[in-house]
Symmetry: none
Subunit: 555 residues, 2 copies
């Protein structure tokens, strides 16, 4: 991977959308990405068409070192973005060539490096415990060394705005050291997140006027203004904007990639993404929330589930006249949709669209669509979510068609459950053992099978396979590749034993051809998992029986 500029965006290298979800975003409380998660995040963000993906801090974090190694080994093929490694300048009193941390940046094989440097005199003197001359030399030396090694280098000027207000000469000296040594963007960081847009825009304008450098912006959200500050900086002349997915990040978080892109693309009419990608904004935001295991913010600007939803009141009568009078943009532009007042229409349209995407032709079947819509709404009100469970949705849609069309493929489960029992023992010797027994009817036989597993769901899955495989050999092809659990607390408050909660389970399965995701919801986590497992097999069975369903499925 040697790309150092964005590919496929109309603005080319003249404007950078730079994603740091994997480094700065991962500092959000509660996020703990595995290396596999990191690869998946990078693929999603690349699919959206951003120009740069900062993958982590090799050398400082073992997982990040492994991420870059696996990326370099070919596990990550970026179509649009250049891959960036983050690191700090060399230590005081050393040389870049000998600094182990700088060596780790080289070893990562990332073609682009973003170096963080202190640009506030107080930080240089009190945290770094050195003087301004040495701080500038650390920047110069490290940038020059990495540029000499063929890397493209960006400089993150940490605490820039606070430092510039305190002592502008020091802050500019750090920028100059980096720029003259070959860094081609100096990124002004509002590290403590204390800026407001009018003042920040003024500073960005002034720095560009005084230096002529190419300037980037990196905002934290401590005043609730990170998105506004980022956009204001671009209006003031910044041509590189660093964001994180859904604003994940330390403290109040970072500038949120999705509204920043929305504002730049829709409000400032800048073609910051490759053609057609803006409509992926909502989907990618939600998928990244799933990967972070954080519930999507339903009121997030542009991409939230409620963001174009209108509740009764002042607008009710008028909105039918012209929806665009009551929304700041057409929600479909960013892949979102309008809900509530025009739900019938919006819901139907999006369901038809979704069906089309899944290869299920709903056009000319209004009763099937209406019935499916009712079921989806009812299930979603009870905690189901089909947003990430295409295979369960496909089964539901095809089931509605099968009601009215005898030639449509059958969607029923390939077996009938009589009962199951799971026994979990924490034994005297400390071992924890799970054992499951299922009684099912399959292909005209009543089968009883028992298996052990690492946990109750694993045992149940193993017992079911043992029961089915002799009669349905294709079951053996199905692998369970991912399993996600979310506890949803109901509208009423949690009681002493959390009994109001329902559990939503997402199961991702694969065979030689496809990956597909199914969902199950129940008050009991094992039953919720069971429901998702059954849907996974029903989906495979449908394909085995009829060859359909291999269409547009994703994980």
């Amino acid at each position: 991977m040697t790309r150092t500029t964005p590919a496929g965006t109309p603005l080319g290298d003249s404007f950078h959308v730079y994603d740091t979800t994997l480094r700065d975003g991962a500092q959000r409380e509660g996020i703990s990405y595995s290396v596999a998660d990191k690869l998946a995040v990078a693929r999603l963000v690349d699919g959206l068409g951003v120009g740069f993906i900062e993958g982590g801090w090799p050398g400082a974090m073992p997982k990040d070192t492994e991420f870059f190694a696996r990326a370099a080994a070919g596990e990550l093929q970026l179509r649009h973005a250049a891959l960036v490694a983050f690191g700090s300048t060399r230590r005081a009193g050393s040389t870049a060539a000998k600094d182990p941390q700088v060596q780790a940046l080289l070893a990562s094989q990332a073609p682009v490096v973003t170096l963080v440097a202190k640009s506030d005199r107080r930080h240089i003197e009190r945290a770094l415990r050195t003087d301004v001359a040495e701080a500038a030399e650390m920047v110069r030396d490290t940038v020059a060394f990495l540029v000499g090694e063929g890397r493209r280098v960006f400089l993150d000027a940490e605490h820039f705005f606070d430092g510039y207000a305190f002592d502008p000469d020091t802050s500019l000296r750090v920028l100059t050291a980096g720029f003259e040594a070959g860094a081609d963007v100096v990124v002004l960081c509002d590290t403590n997140g204390g800026q407001l847009p009018l003042g920040l825009a003024e500073t960005v304008r002034e720095v560009i006027a005084r230096t002529g450098f190419r300037v980037g912006i990196h905002c934290q959200d401590d005043t609730g203004c990170a998105v506004a500050n980022s956009v204001a900086a671009v209006q003031a002349g910044a041509t590189h904007v660093q964001c994180t997915a859904n604003g994940y990040g330390e403290r109040a978080g970072n500038a949120d990639l999705f509204p920043v892109i929305g504002n730049l693309a829709v409000k400032l009419r800048m073609d910051v993404l490759p053609e057609g990608k803006l409509a992926d904004l909502t989907h990618v935001s939600h998928a990244l929330a799933e990967l972070a295991n954080i519930a999507p913010d339903t009121h997030q600007a542009y991409v939230g589930h409620s963001t174009f939803a209108h509740k009764a009141g002042l607008h009710a009568s008028a909105i039918k006249v012209d929806p665009l009078l009551y929304n700041h943009i057409d929600p479909t532009v960013v892949g979102n949709d309008m809900r509530v007042l025009v739900t019938e229409m919006a819901g139907r349209a999006s369901l038809e669209l979704k069906g089309h995407e899944l290869g299920v032709d709903l056009v000319g079947r209004p009763e099937a669509v209406d019935s499916a819509l009712r079921k989806v709404k009812d299930l979603e009100s009870r905690g189901w979510s089909f947003e990430a469970a295409d295979a369960s949705l496909e089964l539901l849609l095809r089931g509605e068609i099968a009601v009215v069309d005898p030639d449509a493929p059958a969607t029923g489960h390939p077996f009938e459950l009589e009962s199951y029992r799971v026994i979990l023992d924490h034994r005297l010797d400390g071992e924890v053992v799970s054992e499951a027994t299922v009684k099912v009817h399959v292909a005209g036989h009543r089968v009883i099978a028992t298996a052990e597993g690492n946990g109750p769901v694993h045992a149940l899955d193993a017992a079911l396979r043992r029961a089915l495989v002799p009669h349905l050999p294709w079951v053996d092809e199905v692998e369970l590749t991912d399993y996600k659990v979310r506890i949803l607390t109901g509208a009423s408050r949690a009681t002493q034993h959390g009994t109001d909660a329902v559990t939503r389970v997402l199961v991702q399965s694969s065979d030689r051809e496809l990956e597909w995701t199914t969902v199950g919801v129940h008050g009991n986590i094992v039953e919720a998992s069971w429901l998702a497992l059954c849907d996974a097999l029903a989906h495979k069975a449908m394909r085995v029986r009829s060859g359909v369903g291999a269409g547009g499925l994703r994980g």
Copy 2:
């Protein structure tokens, strides 16, 4: 209640903090305030010291009519704020005096009325289906009538910014009609929420320059800039700012009262609240979230639980030097506090800081710190996470101290497990039943207890309580208030049965004094939950035994 100006604020009537949580905030999807809720919200917001509280739309919403009736009857005694009724101008072709909706505003007995009027020509013509002259006359007539009846009147100019961009003359004509008839603030509303701060500030400046009117601002958050837009409008000359608690509102929501106040008070140094009230910001925000039955946003600017939490190793060592170098403000100013997250990124410095926060003195105990750090890193590499599990971390730290200090409080579990068994039946009739049996040694007795539950963890928790309560009555005080599950896939790929996965469970508990969170990790979800439950009881036991641990703990 006849007050028409704010009481007790240094800025008096010259600047208005105006809260519309009860009207515009209530339009958020999922909020449904009872009249009692509305009274409680008004008391909390008044306690914070805002200048105006918009209580609702009398006549249009029965609950709002009742709210005003009960307020007028003496159920609501506001100490700082003036009470405001919201309504629209009279209908086209009628007179204000005869308009039932205008009569309802009078009947509400609210001393201040905010009238909403369309100020975008397209809305006047296409939604109102009248002409600009009549629209202006509707405003003039209604304002004049209410002022004549002794009310103070504000005018909300709906869709102002979109309208002004489309046809400024119409929009200014509506403002002028209201101002000349006696409205003493004209509020420029970004109703569709599509504005960005630099452009919005420019428009506010221009309108003030052209009219000389007193101008207010009302922003929706559809670009993610409502807070920034509100503050920018104030910098541009607006002296009245309309917000909702926690940004509740239709679609993406409204400008969030708390960061708006934080920014005005701390960044622009405006005394917008009565003296001493700024420190209530965090508490009032969380209390209002409880009343709305919406989980507080942990990353909300100024007031979020995580908003001053530091995770990065980069910062943690330097934070000890000077916390204000790494926070944009002193968190106690807004009633929040700083936390340190212990993660794999952390070092000795963060662990000492964290210990200090938890009331565990690690200074001068380098062996205990080193040993604890090794354990934390080892556990975190196996999927444990202490950043949200302060109570488990406290047990670990105190355990290390207890090794070297015989006087330190004991941290052991209050009982010994012999074994447990959980049986889960999906019965023939479709019912799913969970039953657990535990065998434990407690207070010198061997106890066996069995209980049923909604799921395996619920059953296990119930059986354990049944076994322990007769011997440890304090167990009954402990409530399980939240339960979170995360499946972590290991570095290697998930196998056919997902056997590489471990499960991380976070359990939040509370008693009359405290909330505390514990963590458990295991390949088996039930065992992981068991470990977290046991830590929860061990933490309580430690407090019961020694009185320690009630220090800095939060959920």
